[in-house]
Amino acid sequence: MPTNTLKGHTFEVNDEGFLTNRDQWSEELAAELAALVDVELDDAHWAPLRFMRQDSARTGVTPTLRRLQTVGGFDVKELYRLYPGKPVKMMAWLAGLPKPVGCV
């Protein structure tokens, strides 16, 4: 596994740049990662990231968009506004979680 360093943070990532150890994540690191893609994290951005951290700590898997909607109470269109394009993938990356996957 490659190891990355960013502004004093050291963390292991997979080939796609997703953290492979959720314990190496911090809110400061998330903010630095977001800056790499020109996103400034405000409260609206933080809410789904914090939900994903808490939810995945309990379930062991990255929550789906639908779970963010039905369990987290987030509006899907709002998530697309906050994180245009591929919101779940981007939020998983920022939250230090694996991207959602199938079995193959």
Partner: protein, 411 residues
């Protein structure tokens, strides 16, 4: 008398009933509940639309596969009351239990996507194939379809048998080729994930399969609704995919009584310890197979391997001792890849599908994560093993926990 109550007489429930009938002495009663007496070989749904299986062939009576000492109660389930150790049935009966084993699977919920189940095109141009009714209706839908845009679509994960939609796309390619109309059909595989194959080694090995068969791919597609007026699948990000035939896998949830009883998560899946399958909230409840929130595939193989490990654990649970066996999330499955070939996968919680050989006695080593004819025969043969071996409560000569034997390990 002590009482075991099994909810659901499908793959997991039937295996449990047979195992427990052998294991428990005369001091126990075993009762199993299901709403009907029709046991479907669910992997067969995939073949019904293409006419290579029929409803009649893949349906047998549940009661045929239940031992005589097991009482079979035919009713729907309305509620589990875990604090009272009782289950209310739709027919008004109340069944008490000392131990409750939940194996009621998952249900497709087309009603949870606007315009899907409640749309005017449902079972006219929009079909599922995860139910007998859907698979049979799609058989006619496919026969009527003589060209145009076919979407093969997954609403959201998790779904039962996660590779079945891919298999459907491959078999549809074959089907249209055989009918001589493949050039008139545009097939697109639509997924909420970021690829058809999301595990690195599978993506590397199988990434070209869709392209080789001229199947388009639409990724990261979070469906918002089905537009019935214009026959379009609409995503939250504004993308609209027109279709002449939409084959969708609706959102999968647990059964309604799981929601109503407060014994599951927000999707109606029973929360269990991933290694023992014991409810995280009630010590005398275990859940199996698709009905659980296990972070592995919803597949019969998972139910089978977990049931194999349950016997010793149940004896320990009865005695109030720690449970000795830990399930590893082991799953394996054949994936029809079309053209008379199939792929074989073998994986668990920790290990993604790898290449190599799967050492099977008698039929010989089978190729992992690559297409072969023998894998296809294996898939066909499996239907007989399902009824004659697994549903009789016997084991298959394969390791219960995932083995690395024959697999090519990668860093």
């Amino acid at each position: 008398m002590r009482r075991v109550l099994i909810l659901g007489a499908g793959t997991a429930g039937t295996m449990l009933a047979n195992r427990l009938a052998d294991q428990l002495d005369e001091g126990w009663t075993i009762t199993i509940v299901d709403r009907d007496d029709d046991h479907h070989y669910q992997p067969g749904y995939l073949f019904i639309p293409f006419g290579t299986a029929t409803a009649k062939r893949i349906t047998k009576r549940r009661s045929r596969f239940l031992p005589s000492r097991v009482a079979f109660v035919r009713s729907g389930i309305s509620r589990v009351r875990p604090d009272d150790n009782e289950v209310d049935l739709d027919d008004g009966q109340i069944l008490g239990y000392d131990w409750l084993l939940i194996a009621t699977g998952t249900v497709p919920r087309p009603d949870l996507t606007p315009g899907m189940g409640d749309g005017s095109l449902w079972y006219r141009k929009v079909f599922d194939f995860y139910t007998m009714a859907g698979a049979v209706a799609l058989h006619d839908g496919l026969a009527r379809f003589d060209g145009g845009r076919l979407l093969v679509h997954i609403t959201e994960m998790p779904i039962k048998c996660p590779v079945a939609p891919l298999e459907f796309a491959f078999l549809a390619d074959d089907h249209f080729r055989r009918r001589g109309i493949r050039h008139k059909v545009d097939i697109t595989f639509v997924t909420p994930l970021d690829g058809a194959f999301t595990k690195p080694i599978a993506a590397r090995e199988l990434g070209n399969l869709l392209e080789d068969r001229s199947i388009r791919l639409a990724t990261d597609f979070a469906v918002e609704r089905v537009d019935n007026d214009h026959s379009r699948l609409v995503a939250y990000d504004g993308r609209e995919l027109p279709f002449d035939l939409l084959v969708t896998v609706p959102l999968n949830t647990g059964q309604q009584y799981v929601f109503d009883s407060g014994i599951g998560d927000e999707s109606g899946f029973v929360q269990v310890d991933p290694h023992t399958l014991r409810s995280t909230r009630y010590d005398n409840i275990f859940a199996f197979g698709d009905a659980t929130d296990l972070p592995t595939s919803k597949a019969g193989a998972v139910a089978h391997f977990a049931v194999e490990l349950f016997g010793d654990n149940f004896q320990a649970a009865i005695a109030g001792k720690p449970l000795p066996n830990a399930f590893d999330g082991h799953a394996n499955c054949f994936i029809e890849s079309g053209r008379g070939e199939a792929l074989l996968l073998d994986f668990n919680y920790e290990t993604e599908p790898l290449t190599g050989r799967y050492p099977l006695p008698v039929v010989g080593p089978m190729r992992l994560l690559g297409a072969s004819r023998i894998n296809h025969w294996g898939k066909l043969l499996f239907e007989q093993l399902y009824w004659q071996v697994l549903m009789r409560g016997r084991g298959l000569p394969v390791p219960t926990l995932m083995s690395m034997a024959g697999k090519h390990k990668e860093d």
